[in-house]
């Protein structure tokens, strides 16, 4: 089992989709929202995802395919 801390960023129509609900149904992972700020056309959610390492990877790839940006909670860690 592993835990991943990530930030989802939603823009445009992605805001209206119940992505976090669906990811818990489609994959064997547990999501736990810790912080969020959502407006009508933009929002971000910081959450923990528990599950098997590979299953979390599959779940996050699926979330990205839904048009949601997925980042580590620390933001960009690749610096010049």
């Amino acid at each position: 089992m592993a835990t991943r801390r990530v930030r989802f960023t939603f823009e445009g129509d992605a805001v209206k989709e119940p992505v976090i609900y669906l990811v818990g149904h489609e994959f064997d992972v547990v999501t736990n929202i810790r912080m969020a700020d959502v407006e009508h056309d933009f929002g971000w959610v910081v959450l923990e995802i528990d599950g098997d390492h590979d299953e979390i990877d599959r779940a996050l790839s699926w979330v990205e395919q839904k048009g949601v940006r997925v980042d580590p909670v620390a933001g960009d860690v690749v610096e010049s």
Binding site: R5, V46, V70, D71, P72, V73, A74, G75, V77, V78
Partner: protein, 416 residues
């Protein structure tokens, strides 16, 4: 003995021990080093600082490192140049250039890595690590070599060979990640949780960030123990920007300089300006972007400290600028032609941002202003190579020289 007491969450204030932690377990806010201010106050004086080494370590009382663990490459105490010719060109009365191109690996990253590597050694790490496309990897590799530590540097697989050289010469392990920028980002965030490595800007980030405050300390001391009224600094993650302001505030708190409001102006390139865009839209919600600019050292699309940079601007009656790539090149040339300082593209962003801030009346040209130049120009030579003076070809005879010289065009300056 360090006066650092704990790590404290910037959001909820919860305290954590001085360990390799960077995110609050409760609210996921970023952690920051907290200090025993009374202890510092009782010890620190101008004289004590002035008698210290000519490096960032003259401020060791204000850094989260014990003296026995310092990794010393003689970082900092870089020149503060009075930029009279550039000031005249920009219509300013008093402009200063903080020239951080003079650091051991030619960028301000040496300040943050010096503190991170020293703290990493104190925490018992044997390995320094980072994910980087340039300056940070250079500095991590150099400091690891100096400390006799191992270095592991992660780079995107398509990084140009020239950029790898500045790290490779120090013989780190270089891992070329076959994937997108986001893949490198994610891999390193996971590794930081799973390996006993000090990733300087991930698991030891709270200590790393503290090094930037020394820029403000040096400027205040070099100005004759006073703060400037206005500052222009580049913004990537936003950390440098907020820490410069914090540095001036601390010197005021400890009575080392008079209480003076310092207006903070941040500079970004238009091709990666999530913080400036949020500022202009009057929101603190920063929308991540895909960077597309020649200012690669500022190309952070999802800035970790962007929110705090916005708060700093608001609190100081400051602002933000965004400049085009041609303006960046003009900025580099202007600084070089007027002051003899060759900056990398981030410096071009700063100078072009300064000019924009004057035009937008975000900066008062009559007030003392410091512009921060954070990296040397040879790091991004490709950005300007086609925009600078070309040689006049001649044979090795007087006649050939006279003929060619008579026909040579007058040097053309930039920026009016």
């Amino acid at each position: 003995m360090t006066y650092a007491t704990c790590l404290a969450c910037r959001e909820c204030g919860r305290e954590f021990p001085l360990e390799p932690l960077h995110v609050c377990d409760f609210c996921f806010g970023p952690l920051e080093v907290a200090y025993d201010h009374d202890g510092i106050q009782s010890r620190i004086t101008r004289e004590r600082i002035e008698s210290g080494p000519r490096s960032i370590w003259r401020y060791i009382d204000l850094l989260p490192v014990d003296e026995d663990f310092i990794v010393d490459l003689n970082v900092g105490w870089t020149p503060l140049l009075k930029a009279e010719r550039l000031a005249e060109r920009l219509g300013m009365r008093e402009l200063w250039i903080k020239n951080d191109t003079c650091n051991p690996s030619w960028s301000f990253k040496d300040r943050v890595v010096a503190v991170a590597s020293s703290r990493a050694r104190q925490l018992g790490f044997q390995t320094l690590a980072c994910a980087s496309t340039g300056n940070l990897a250079n500095s991590v590799s150099a400091h690891a070599a100096r400390a006799g530590m191992d270095a592991i540097v992660f780079i995107p697989h398509d990084l140009e060979a020239g950029k790898v050289l500045g790290s490779a010469v120090y013989n780190p392990t270089i891992v070329s990640v076959n994937g997108s920028y986001d893949d490198v980002n994610r891999l390193c965030s996971e590794l930081a949780d799973n390996r006993q490595w000090a990733f300087v800007n991930i698991n030891v980030r709270p200590y790393y960030a503290e090094g930037s405050r020394t820029l403000a300390y040096e400027v205040a001391e070099q100005l004759g123990w006073r703060a400037p009224r206005q500052v222009v600094a580049p913004m990537a993650s936003g950390s440098l920007f907020t820490k410069i302001h914090k540095g001036f505030q601390e010197f005021q708190r400890y009575g080392l300089i008079e209480e003076t409001p310092v207006r903070m102006i941040g500079a970004q390139a238009e091709g990666c300006s999530p913080i400036t865009t949020a500022w202009r839209n009057e929101t603190t919600n920063i929308r991540p972007v895909k960077p597309d600019t020649i200012a690669k050292s500022l190309a952070i699309g999802n800035p970790a400290d962007g929110y705090y940079a916005l708060k700093t601007m608001k609190r100081t009656d400051g602002g933000a600028t965004a400049v085009t790539d041609p303006e960046v090149v003009e900025g580099i040339r202007m600084l070089a032609e007027c002051e003899g300082v060759f900056a990398e593209t981030a410096g071009g962003v700063t100078i072009a941002g300064l000019r924009q801030a004057i035009a937008n009346e975000q900066i008062d040209p009559d007030e003392p202003t410091v512009a921060f130049i954070t990296g040397g120009g040879l790091k991004t030579a490709d950005a300007v190579v086609e925009h600078v003076t070309q040689p006049i070809p001649v044979e090795g005879t007087l006649q050939s020289f006279e003929e060619a010289f008579a026909e040579a065009p007058e040097p053309v300056g930039v920026g009016g």
